[in-house]
Point group: D2
Amino acid sequence: MKFGVVGAGRIGTIHGGNIAARKDCELVSVADADAGAARALADATGATTASVDQIMESKDVDAVAICSPTDTHADLIERAARAGKAIFCEKPIALDVGRIRNCLEVVRSTGATLMIGFNRRFDPNFAALRKRVAEGAIGRLEIVSITSRDPGPPPISYIARSGGLFRDMMIHDFDMARFILGEEPVAVSAMGSAVVDGAIGEAGDIDTAVVIMETKSGKVAQISNSRRATYGYDQRVEAHGESGMIHVGNVRETTVELGGAQGFTRDKSLNFFLDRYDAAYKIELDAFVAAVKSGAKPRPDGDDGLKANILADAAYQSWKTKQRVAIE
Amino acid sequence: MKFGVVGAGRIGTIHGGNIAARKDCELVSVADADAGAARALADATGATTASVDQIMESKDVDAVAICSPTDTHADLIERAARAGKAIFCEKPIALDVGRIRNCLEVVRSTGATLMIGFNRRFDPNFAALRKRVAEGAIGRLEIVSITSRDPGPPPISYIARSGGLFRDMMIHDFDMARFILGEEPVAVSAMGSAVVDGAIGEAGDIDTAVVIMETKSGKVAQISNSRRATYGYDQRVEAHGESGMIHVGNVRETTVELGGAQGFTRDKSLNFFLDRYDAAYKIELDAFVAAVKSGAKPRPDGDDGLKANILADAAYQSWKTKQRVAIE
Amino acid sequence: MKFGVVGAGRIGTIHGGNIAARKDCELVSVADADAGAARALADATGATTASVDQIMESKDVDAVAICSPTDTHADLIERAARAGKAIFCEKPIALDVGRIRNCLEVVRSTGATLMIGFNRRFDPNFAALRKRVAEGAIGRLEIVSITSRDPGPPPISYIARSGGLFRDMMIHDFDMARFILGEEPVAVSAMGSAVVDGAIGEAGDIDTAVVIMETKSGKVAQISNSRRATYGYDQRVEAHGESGMIHVGNVRETTVELGGAQGFTRDKSLNFFLDRYDAAYKIELDAFVAAVKSGAKPRPDGDDGLKANILADAAYQSWKTKQRVAIE
Amino acid sequence: MKFGVVGAGRIGTIHGGNIAARKDCELVSVADADAGAARALADATGATTASVDQIMESKDVDAVAICSPTDTHADLIERAARAGKAIFCEKPIALDVGRIRNCLEVVRSTGATLMIGFNRRFDPNFAALRKRVAEGAIGRLEIVSITSRDPGPPPISYIARSGGLFRDMMIHDFDMARFILGEEPVAVSAMGSAVVDGAIGEAGDIDTAVVIMETKSGKVAQISNSRRATYGYDQRVEAHGESGMIHVGNVRETTVELGGAQGFTRDKSLNFFLDRYDAAYKIELDAFVAAVKSGAKPRPDGDDGLKANILADAAYQSWKTKQRVAIE
């Protein structure tokens, strides 16, 4: 399978490197508005630089990995779909649900294969939790609790165009909740504030938030987010069911523990997503490649992307209006 | 200090035994509608049985521990207050907030000492968390997360007169949230269902619930409750602040871990409140006795009892109306 | 059952308090060369002070708890045995194995009930390990590993009359090894040094030691001792068998964990034996009382005391002679 | 740097793959008595197959990785040294200490660079322990405790030519002890038996062993080995010093914990060295490449290989003769 990568920033570099390292894939071309970034990734992987047009038109490109800024995703998905490419696109498809629906209509009509990069589904820890829940290890599921804290807030410039905490950060947790619940939430209630950094509040966003959701059958979920965690990237999930619970904890750099007058001290959590989700990105790519090869529909797909956005919008609305919001 | 105990059930027996075991206290009389229960506790502690009237009128009784059913609490508090006794009363003061206010007015007007039995504040684990937060170990507080699951649901007959999950069970967590937040919640949103036991739903109650709250300054809190936990009594609290987090985990019977083909297995949590809060009940009594001796106002006091009930009412209302509820 | 306690120091105070707190026992008299110490314990427990002679001769005393200095143990056991008392004696019976044998001969000939205070057998954690091993949870036992570190070294004056690390401190671990192995060691090899405190070395003793032992059937055991542990009292045991392992870890003051820039910090271990073995001392007394009441032979008995001393002697000899020592 | 690999078995495949994956290295040729094995590795890495002679004589090979059976190591080291290659050799250099000394004399006289594959030094967990000890995190070191258990015994055919448990398995732990102690042991005492598998005993070897060692300055070390661990590969180290302790625990597959009626169950340890030491093998290669490039002497070197063998021999002798053995 021959790939073109659009976007050679932090996440494009990860996917590009993972593609190039596979024996069954080849990274043929890299496009980026920043020619130097494209060049660096191309050099590191034996690919060539190219324009987006060239990638889309190339007979030599089977699949496109879209790793460019969010506001380009929907257009690129549509172009790639029409060009007959298999498409891997980073989340989100777009910030606007209407735009997402239009985009997915193009995907549907062209019959294109589209997978959305909710990488956490492929983390071996969360995947094991999901598998055990599905196997019945805790019986009928009742409560899902998700904790997600970044080590520190992004620049204010990023905040401004991010779509806000719910659409930019908590969207991963909405997808995780759906992934584990196996059922759609029908109501969302959110609270939040900008207590980490006042400038985030001035930019109209929040950095600290809690959300609760419920499904038709009575399952409930809670999500807790913060843009700061001094003890490392905090990524935990807990699922409770009729016969037990499954907890996924953080991953530490080492298993070293120091005992002394201060007590017993263990390592911080792996500091950020590049470390914590290193394996997840590779496994995610496995899943995409396997789906394209077999002709199966990959998951998470466009509909998963849409539904996570709908939940994020509902949470945003709940926070803004101080009302519980129903999902149709 | 000489005590009379009203109510010789499970919790009265704990307090009675703890009073009798102290060198600076004496348990002089025990009242219970069930004469056998009163007799058993009296025999075990060297006390005598008595009627409530006798306890209230006795010159020999300095303090009353009210451990009788919830619907008797407010009346007994008022009687004891008028009789000049120091009063320790199990939560809640009453299920109805109006009734609580009237009762507290009597307490205020008589100048009586009243302490409410939110025992978890005295658990050495939670107390250490509270102390460290107050000392600034994690800087300005941002998020409090409380998990509370009973090993199994009480009988339906108990459910029916309990006031419901929010007023009967989650009331402890509302008090814990206030205890740690150090600030009053101004809004509550609740979701819940009866997924553990359908009969609880038929009785008009729920057995699974999640709540979020926020304070004026932007702190947020989340609470998760279930009437069932197959792995033992689940009592955890986590506090996040600007410079770190403090987690209080469960307490296990032993520190034994078995490694084998199944993995590594540790003990369940201590199974219920009599075990988990054994030390807390003793320390709570220390605090009551110390307050009465010194003339200081004990905490948690009537106002703490009132405010926890107000939060429970708001959560109930939120659940029933599917609306976020503001607290004045 | 009516008790006399001989020795009102730290350990006598524990046993005296535990005896007095039982409903089925009474502490009637306390003897100590230090009249003030005897008075303090007697006052705290409602007992009277008495001479050793008075305790031994009293018709009112059924059982004697010997908590006096080590060099008085054997004599007091013999006197109590001849006086027809049930005997609980702190370890060791004597430092000299010959003296122990003579003493046990008196116990045997008088038919006296004698239990030796190897308190760790009654620690709920170690007892659970022993029980699970006996139940076959890890199959045939192969390796036992014991770690034992005191928070800090005792005064040099104590060291001088203690019999040395092997007879004073590691004797508990020899008993623990026998308790778990269920089979007698036939060889001992020891190494050690005085690296914690040079003064201990000058006093002819060591403060750091490791020992290995083997049994006839091929089970092996290792023990590690230090007179210092900055992270609290360190008391761990691990048992390995054909189908798994059981680990007993330390006990902490609280379950609090602080996450921050330093990593994740938990409490130190409970600081010393009064805290760690608080429950063990009570359960040990249960076992003694139950044995006396039922007429059963209590364990650990005089023979257990003798055999632990023999192992300690062998370890001492191994350390001194730099030879492996066989046990007949 | 261009590599030839001699030996394309399990460990040769690891090193060959790691070499081929580096941008600064090339795997040019692979030799193995089993032509199919050589072919498989060559095909997977883009190398060609070759004879040992061809590798040694090739101008195109800068470095040789010796991954063939133990009894070929010394000869291959000598040939490579004389051929002017940099040499990475799997442990041990030889089973016989005299043979090792001769081989190292050749290495010395030719000035060849030789690194021995004690991979555990490069495990991020053990490396962090070593680094912290060296930085003084626990003050002066006093006790080192090493636990090492394989998931299951190797075939009897392997046992027969392995040199026995001490030289084949515990040799890693002797190197680890030296690595952490930073000082040479001067005495060794060993005990062991064949309790896991009687056939191992019949082959003249043991499968269960404990060893103690001491250094001139009074530091002590203990090692515990078993050829079986049902709960996964068991690789732990603990270092105690004057101001604290550092513990390195096992690594688990995931951070999943399942709570239920059985208690709380976590994953087994990573099952064997390919998983546990995956990172260590890569970091080990980093160290070799960096040393060769910079002209620095790599560690562990031939002398480390020799000294670990001397300790293994002493332990073997101690076990056989039932005597403590001094190391000159």
